[in-house]
Structures are given as C-alpha cells and as structure tokens.
Assembly symmetry: C2
Homo-oligomer: 514 residues x 2
C-alpha cells in the first residue's frame, strides 16, 4: 500500500504510518485500534487529523468502524471468500475461466463521488445507535394500522394495480385530493398541473431540471436542506447562497441585491414553511414580496413545502405558491413522507406553467409512480382522519422538540445557541467558540459516531465549512432517558472539539498539538 | 387568434383559415370538423399538412380529438368555469383579489418540450381504442391474485413498511433474490452493487448519469427504445447511432470503426436480449466480443435486460454483463414491469465499478424506493412459481406475436417486412415504397389515431426520420377479432400514406396534391 510521499497531507502520512504498524505487528482481523484521542496524543496530531487518517483507511476497506466500539482491522478474507455461485445453472460452460476468483472482482472505486454525499450515505447506512441525524419521526406516530387496512383492501379489490402498466402523471383520485387539501389553506392547485412523484426528492429534482440546465446558478437559502445541495452538485448547477434567518427565513434584501448586481440566478429554491434546518415560517407579507420580486425578474421559484402541514401555529401557513395566482411561476413540491406515511415514498409537484415540461421529465426519469400506495393515500385523505392525525403528530413533535431543546441547553457548553422552531422535526444548534477557537461539528460527528450517536453535522447544510460550528438534531423520536443520555454525552464531546486546522487543505508538515 | 403572417408554414396558414371558418360560422362547442381527408381535398393540401393544422389547433386547446370520432370544436367554457374554491377554508382573507378568475390562470406553455416526447405523451395519455402502442402485456397474463395475497399479508405483518423512513439501496431480501435469479443463468451479481429503482427507466437514467455528463456522446442501437432517446435528449447527451439487425443486434464492426475513427463515445447502451423494437438476441460470441471491445477501449456498457426473462428459447440468454467477470464495466439494468408485475414499478441496476456513484445519484434523484412492493416481489421470487409463470407468459406472447404477424402479412400492403422476434412483446414492421414514394408512419399514426387505433410510429425509434417508414406493434394483448379488425384497418390506411413533404420544414407555399 502506498499512501504517497512526504509531500502528502499529514493525515495521509499518518494513515501510512498506522497501516505500516498494523502490517508489521501482523495484527489479526478484528483487532481493535486505539481510540481517536489516544492516536492523536500518541502521534502529536489533532483529533481531526487522526480521524481523517482513520476514515481514509476505512474508505479503502483496511479498517472498519463499529458503532459504539471504535475502529477495527477489517476482515481481509471478505475479499476472497465468496463461492463460485452458478455452478448448477444453465450456461455454466460459458461461466468458467475468469470467474470464481472472489467477491469484489473489480477494484473498489476511488472516492470519486461528492464527499459530502458519501458522508451522509455513511450516516444513513449506519445501523443501530441513537439516531438524531435524519429528519424523521418514529413509526408509532403514523397511522400505520389504518394504512394496513387500506392496503389490504386495495390489494384485494383493485388487483389491476399490480397487473397494469402504469402511465400518466399520477392516480387521478390522489391528484384531486392533493388539490382539495391545498384549497383548505387557500392555495389553488389544478389537478392537471400535478405530477405524483417518488417522494418529494424526485419532485425537487424534476423541478430543477424543468427550469435550469447544468451550469445555471440556483439561489438557495443558507443554511438549507443538504440533500438539495447534493442534488444541485449532481446536476452541476452552481449554488448562490442567500442568508436565511431562524425568525423569518430567506433574506429578501440579499436576494434583491444579488439580482440587482446582475447575478444570473436562474431559479430560487425555498423551504419556506417549517424550514429545514431552521424551522422558520416567513409571514404572508414576506411570501408575497418574494413572489412579486421573482415575477418582476422572471425568475421561477421552487418551493419545498414538505413541512407545511407540520407547522405548529393555529392555522396552516399558506405556501408561497398561494400568493402567485396568475403567473404559474412557482413550482410547489410536497409529499407525505413527513406528515403521513414515510414508507410509501409519495411526493408531488404542482409545476404551474412548467407542468408540461415536468411531465415530460418525469416520463424519462422514472416513467410513472406506482399506484397502490397512491390509491391508499387518496382514500385516507378522502375518508377523513388526516386532520386529527396531524394534530396528534404536531403535538408530539412539539413536546419532543421542547425536551430535546431543554436537554441541549442543559448539557451543551455555555453559549450554545438553539432554534425554537415553528414546525417540523428538527432543531438547529450553534456551538460557541472555545477559547477563541471555532468548534467543528464535523469532528464532533466522528467522535459521536464512534460512540453510536449520530446527528447531521452543520457543514452539510452549506457550501464549504460555513456551518461547521452548527449541527442539526432530529426531534422525531419520543423522548426517552436513552435519548437524554445521548444528548448529555454529545454535550460533553462538544466541549472538546475545536477546529485547529482546515481538514481539506492540511498539507502543512507542522504538527500542531491539540 | 393570430397564427402568423403569409410567410408562416402552410399548415399554420391552413390552421388560421380553419379557425377563421369556425369563428365566422360561430360553430358550437362539440361541432364535428370534416375528416382529415376531406379537409386535405377541400384545401388542396396533403394529408400531413391537414393533420399538422389540426394538431396545431388541438395543442392550443381550440379543437379536440376524440378516439374513433375525429376532431371537434373544443369546449370554450372549460377555460372560464372553475369555481373560486377555498371559500370556507382558513386563510381566505388572503385569498381574495386576483383569484377566482378561472381555471387556466396562466398562459398555456409554448410547446417547448421535445416534440417526440410530446407525441408519445399524447399516445400514452389517450384513453380507449385499440392499443398497439405500448410494450405491455395485458393484466390477465400476470400473477395478480398471488400478489393480492402477498400484499395483503405484508400490509398486515410488516406495518413498518408504511411508518418507517426508507433508506438505502433497496430491500435486502429483494437484492438477494435478484442476485439468486441471475445465478440461474450464470450471471454473477453482488447484492452490494445492486440498487432497486422505480422501474427500469430510473435504472437507465441513473446509469447514464453515473458514466456520462451533459455533452458526452452515447452510442445506442438504431433503432432503439424511444424512451432512451428521449432520456438522452433530456440529459443533453448526444446520440451516436450504431446500426442494429433483427437477426443479431448491434453491428459490432460499425461500433469498432466509430471508436477507431476517434468518435469520443463515452458509453454504449444496448438492449441485447429481446431487443426493443427488433426482438433480437445476439449470440454469446457477439456478447463476449462487445465486452472485450469496450473493456479494451475503457468505455462502459449500459445493458437494458428488461426483456431477458421473456426470450423464447430453451435456455434464458445470458446478459452481456455475464461475460464481464472481472472489470465491473457493465451496468446491468433490469426490472419486473414486463415479466412479473407492471403496476409495482420495480427495476434494479447492478452497476459494477460504478455502484457507489449510482447509489449517490439514486439518493439525490428519488432518495429510496418504497419497500412494500419490494417485499412482495422478494417473497414471490423466494417462494417459487416465477419459472412457471414465465413459461405461461412466454407461450402466450409467442402465440400472440404469431397471430399479429400473420395479420400484418395478410392485411398490410405488399412488400411490408416484419420481424420474427426471439422474445419480448413487440413486432417491428417496415412499409414498402408506394409508387417510388416512401410511406410515413407518422402520418399513418395520425390517421389511425382518429379511428381509435394506436401504435408506436417508427420515427420515435431513431434520430430524424430515418425510421419513418417503420412501426412497432405490441403483441402483449390476447388475440381477438377486434384486434384483427384494427390491424386490417391499419393495413388499409397504410396503403394511403406517403411522405410527400417533410412535416417539420413545410414552409414552401407549393400545395402538392396527394
């Protein structure tokens, strides 16, 4: 193994040194490595550098992380153990020769894909532990029994939901129900402009592709939903960040100034109601002003309203789209994965004057959405009970947010700031400086992960490291003593993390102590 | 209404004339217009021009087509009838003002999207009539009852399939079953490289985006699956067509020559087994040669194997991927929408060395695939009966293809050529020249559509009009006397259609008679 020469970044050289040690000591598979702290102290490097070295070795399959336990020498046999397989099947005469050598028959790919995406895929793929990372509520908060009954009946009564080729923009009854729901908060949608999607993520993806091409600049709130940022990177659409506030959402003056300065913004994306991660809800005047500004400049607005139904106020806040009556300039994206049935992966888009383009893109992206779950959701919405379910879910979320917020204020270092969201699942916290140094939640993430606690580190929510001192916590789970213990531990770990060097450019050969 | 001045294309001027007539005569909504033939004769224009004029008026909502009946003056009231809506709902104070004016509150979009996509969307959206357009088998040919039982049981036993946030590359049991199925024809897939998708279309979309960027040239068979061409257009990836033969599939010499000439082909897409639309299955030597050629040139291959299980031979043909043991250079795409359960929209991709990139793209394209239907398919595959179902389905398809083929040979003009497919749903026919003139199935499509018969016109399957004298017919439906009558009528219409002018550039003021 060659990690590079003396000019390599510090963490690469440390990784080389660690691996040489493992090889020389002929450490057995499954041998536990020293803790991150111990390694940092032994080698006189920062925690960040030690973590980077371990992650580097992990990415290459040489070591592996186990939740709550730390890092271990990986099973080398995994790479040469798998059997030949299809020995008894047809066509084996063709199958001899080069086959049967082992499992990973081609080299692991270099880490070509976006590093932030990889980070999150790692989070999402990790099993066990205390999950504060996703914006997801626990299963018991959803009307699962009701859906069980509905799905069983539909699978019996409407058998062609299995046997028929699926076409078109979505199950008509569901499109009608979505429009009917929206009318309840005075947002007029035309079922004909609606396309049912595989979750709200697909809706956002189609919306972006309908209004912009690779290379086009997209303005987004900062901070914003990190999957949106990863999506924009995958679509090769550069991001123009607009500051966003926990109280009022996107800073319209900043957006106006950017447009005035001639920044060629092709579209704006807003998560207006129950913003992710800030939990903000702009007032109606701000929504109207946003619509008017963008109409004036002929810039389409993509609105993610997935948390709209989960805002805590007396009346359901209207989407920004409700203030655009006549121009079809707002592509409104919504879905049921947060509010009603996470497992069914149903979203939708009302694309206004872009509806035909969205329909065409849906066709070449995933053809159509399966209809069994559409029929179930349509029936639940039509036959009532959604409003009652929402009241209960929102009450639970509010209680859980309060408990989580109190715990953060109690257990995190002095000076930690935390949002008081107007809706949704998540809290957003900012760590205070420690002795003049900025703490890094990227580092905190790694430390916590080794102890089986996950959260969403702040850097995912913006470009570069601008939110590296922030973190997002999920309040979707019922408050338990285990959760409280995890938050307390997170608070202890948070007291330790300082960003002593920027991780991405650590080519200096100096070895700052920590 | 203004269709443009005297320099406008002939069909636009005809449309203007027709509309003026409708307005002057104050024709009521629902009034039937003269037939295409009558209009062509009355105005001394070709059938194509008459059709273009009608389609132009239809696109703008002035007239409407009704299956089997022709064109009618559209209901103008549709544009001003819809109620105010949310009168009793919360937030109506905000809702006054500009609202309530009518349904289409913004102008219909200009036909900006790809014309071929629109054409097909029109086909797919059309209801009723005799459907020979899709590649779809009828519902009764699928194990719908079996799925009804499975889905009911799963909805009862595994309630968290509704309530839990879905993550990851797919339901583990389904990924394992896909790999097990593939072993039966000696194709070794690693469950870890598999991603379950929303149909095979999503698999192809992810595959293309994993290996190429906008602007990259993709080589495809010619003719090929038209959704692939529309997808490439949407992804801004130029197409390099490689001739394909009904007997043997893609012409490898042509591909090699293109690579030798230095055409910067970024990836190749093949529908090898049971090719759509040709029904071809290359032999193993050709598959091996394709793998070796592309490995040598370091060009990834995307293989669409959705019809692989529906090939008629004694043994299931191996995918091209089976001949790439060690390089992970083939991204194999498959799915269950043709072979097992069209309505559940399940596909998959085994992306070899591109697996991590495909996983990341799936994450930002639709996050994850709903698991209820994955669990149902996994259980059906695990508990047996798939092989028996396939035998029955293939026997039915073969019978239906023979009947359809015989009818085409009987009723279509002399000289019509038609494939004898080795698998799949579809037949591909080529019309003979009529008195030295090339027939146009684009025109035939419009004539047939007015009589409630649909098929897939050849031009969709290639760039430009290279296959305008061809058509694809679906043999997925049980053979009936109604189907036979439709094919007979199609044959009569086919005797009439000649392409007297290229539709897209008909700016000449000459009025060729027909």
């Amino acid at each position: 193994m060659d990690f590079g020469d003396d000019d390599a970044p510090l963490y690469r050289r440390l990784a080389q040194r660690l691996w040489d040690g493992i090889e020389q000591a002929a450490m057995a598979e499954g041998t536990r490595l020293p803790s991150v702290r111990t390694l940092a102290a032994q080698h006189g490097v920062s925690l960040t550098t030690a973590l980077q070295a371990l992650r580097w070795l992990e990415t290459r399959g040489h070591i592996e992380a186990r939740p709550r336990s730390g890092y271990f020498v990986a099973k080398r046999t995994r790479r040469g153990k798998r059997g030949v397989g299809a020995g008894s099947a047809a066509g084996t005469a063709e199958a001899g020769g080069a086959r049967g050598a082992g499992a990973k028959r081609w080299a692991r790919p270099a880490p070509e894909i976006d590093e932030q995406a990889r980070d999150h895929l790692a989070i999402a793929g990790e099993s066990g532990g205390v999950r504060l990372d996703l914006a997801a509520a626990e299963s018991s908060l959803y009307p699962v029994d009701r859906f069980s009954v509905l799905l069983r009946r539909l699978a019996y009564q409407h058998r062609d939901l299995v046997g028929s080729h699926v076409r078109g923009a979505g199950y008509p009854a569901l499109r009608a129900e979505i429009a009917r729901q929206a009318m309840q908060y005075a947002c007029e949608l035309d079922p004909e402009e609606l396309v049912v999607t595989n979750g709200c993520v697909e809706a956002l993806n189609l919306a972006l592709r309908a209004v912009a091409r690779p290379g086009d600049i997209i303005a987004v709130e900062s901070p914003t939903y990190f999957v949106l940022l990863q999506m924009l990177r995958a679509l090769e659409m550069p991001v123009f960040p607009i500051p966003s506030r926990a109280s009022s959402g996107m800073d319209l003056d900043a957006l106006r100034q950017a447009l005035d300065r001639g920044v060629p913004i092709k579209a704006v994306v807003t998560v207006a109601n129950g913003n992710n991660p800030l939990g903000s809800v702009p007032d109606d005047a701000a929504k109207r002003a946003l619509v008017e500004l963008l109409r004036e400049r002929d810039v389409p607005l993509i609105e993610d309203d997935i948390f709209g139904d989960l805002c805590f106020g007396e009346t359901r806040p209207r989407p920004v789209r409700a203030f655009d009556d006549t121009h079809g300039n707002v592509l409104l994206c919504g879905g049921f994965s947060k509010s009603l049935c996470p497992g069914l992966r149903l979203g939708w888009i009302a694309a206004g004057r872009f509806a035909e383009r969205v329909k065409a893109l849906k066709y070449t992206t995933s053809m159509a959405t399966a209809e069994l779950q559409q029929a179930a959701v349509a029936e639940l919405l039509a036959t009532g009970g959604y409003a009652l379910h929402l009241r209960r879910l929102k009450a639970a979320l509010q209680t859980q947010q309060h408990a989580l917020r109190d715990a953060v204020l109690r257990y995190f270092p002095d000076g930690t700031q935390i949002t008081e969201p107007a809706g949704g699942f998540v809290l957003w916290a900012k760590l205070a400086e420690i002795e003049g140094r900025r703490p890094s939640t990227r580092q905190l993430f790694e430390l916590a992960r080794a102890e089986g606690i996950s959260f969403a580190p702040g850097h995912l929510f913006g470009e570069g490291d601008v939110f590296d001192d922030c973190l997002r916590l999920n309040a979707g789970n019922r408050w338990t003593s285990e959760l409280e213990a995890a938050v307390r531990r997170l608070g202890e770990l948070a007291a330790d993390v300082t960003s002593s060097e920027p991780p991405a450019v650590s080519t200096s050969s100096a070895m700052p102590g920590r």
